[in-house]
C-alpha cells in the first residue's frame, strides 16, 4: 500500500506552524519560548508597558471617536454577519490612538491576550479570534489571530487582508477600510473552509507516492 501526500500541503503546514515569529522584532522563534531570545519580549513585559486593559466591546471599539454612529452600526452588523457565517470565529476591531506611541504589533499581541474578546475558555488551540487594530494617528494597522487560526490562515493572508483595507485607510475612510478587510477575510476563510471540507489541497501541488515501509 502506498502512502500519498501533497508536497504543497506539507510545505504549507510547515509555513503555518513552523514559522513562529516574535510580534515585536519579527525574529523567528525556533521553539515555543517563554520570551523572545532576541528582544526579550514577553506578555508580562507588555503588561508593564501598556498597563490596564482599556474598555472594549466584543465586536467594535472606537476609542478615537472617528466613526459616525451610522458607520459603527453598519460595521457591527457586518461583524455579526461574519460570525453567523463562521460561528467558531470572532472578528473584533479596535480603533485606538496609542499614547505614548508604541509598535502596533506589540499592542495587538498584548490586547488579544488580555482583552478576552471571546469566551474565557477560548485559550490555546480553542482560540479562533481575529483582531484588527488600527491606529489612525500613527497610520498603522495590525491583524492578528488566535492560536487556533494559525493552522489555517497564513501571515500572507493577513497581509493581503490589510492591503485590501489600505485604500480606505489612506484616504481616511476607516469604515470602508474595515469593511474591505472583513470582506477579504470572509472570502478567504470561505475558500479555506471549502478546501478543508473537500479534503483537497490548493491547486498547483505535486503528488508524490512513497512506498509503504516493509512490514517485518
Amino acid at each position: 500500500m502506498t502512502r500519498c501526500y501533497n508536497i504543497r500541503s506539507e510545505k504549507k503546514a510547515s509555513v503555518l506552524t513552523g514559522n513562529m515569529r516574535c510580534p515585536s522584532c519579527r525574529a523567528l522563534l525556533d521553539a515555543p519560548l517563554p520570551q523572545c531570545a532576541q528582544c526579550g519580549l514577553s506578555l508580562a513585559a507588555l503588561d508593564r508597558k501598556f498597563g490596564i486593559v482599556p474598555l472594549y466591546s466584543r465586536y467594535l471599539t472606537d476609542r478615537t471617536e472617528r466613526l459616525s454612529l451610522r458607520d459603527a452600526q453598519h460595521l457591527r452588523q457586518a461583524l455579526c454577519l461574519f460570525q453567523r457565517k463562521f460561528p467558531q470565529l470572532l472578528f473584533s476591531v479596535m480603533l485606538v490612538d496609542l499614547h505614548p506611541p508604541a509598535p502596533i504589533s506589540e499592542y495587538a499581541f498584548w490586547l488579544i491576550n488580555r482583552a478576552r474578546f471571546s469566551e474565557f475558555q477560548a485559550t490555546g488551540a480553542k482560540n479562533l479570534e481575529l483582531l484588527l487594530v488600527i491606529d489612525p494617528g500613527a497610520k498603522e494597522a495590525a491583524l492578528i489571530t488566535g492560536y487556533g487560526l494559525e493552522n489555517y490562515v497564513t501571515e500572507d493572508d493577513l497581509a493581503e487582508a490589510l492591503n485590501a483595507a489600505r485604500p480606505g485607510l489612506g484616504t481616511g475612510d476607516v469604515a470602508s477600510a474595515i469593511n474591505s478587510c472583513i470582506d477579504f477575510m470572509t472570502r478567504r476563510l470561505r475558500e479555506i473552509a471549502m478546501e478543508i471540507e473537500a479534503g483537497q489541497p490548493e491547486t498547483g501541488g505535486e503528488t508524490v507516492q512513497e512506498p509503504a515501509p516493509e512490514t517485518p
Binding site: 516574535c22 519560548l33 499581541f109 490555546g124 497610520k139 492560536y147 490589510l162
Partner: protein
Amino acid sequence: MNCLRHFLVIVTLSMLFAFCPSSFAQDAASPPSPSSATAVPENPFVQSAGPSKKPTSLKVKLGVAFALLTAAAGTLWISMRVWRAANLFDRQYHFPPPQTAALRLGANRSGGHLATIKFDGV
C-alpha cells in the same frame, strides 16, 4: 426602524394617490326632476334594477395596482435586508479544531501570528 418609516410613508402616499382621482370623479348629483302628470305609471311587478353603478375608472385601477406594487416591492426589499443580515443566503462554515497549539511568549490566547501595515503616503 428608518426602513419601516420610509416604507410606511411610501405606502401612505401611494394610497393617497390611488384614491385621489376618485374624489374628483364624483359629479355633483343633480336632484331628480319631479314626475309629470303624463308619466307612465310604474309596473309594481317589475323589479327595479336600482341605480346603475359607475364603472371603475382606469385611473383608480392604475392607482390601486401601483399601490400594491409599491407595497410588495417595499416588503420584498425589507425582507431581503433581514434575510441577508440573518445569513439566509449563505451557509455556515466550520473549521476542525486543532489538537494542540505552540504556546509561547507567556501568552495563552495568541502567539503573535500577525501582519502589519503602514498606510501613510497612500
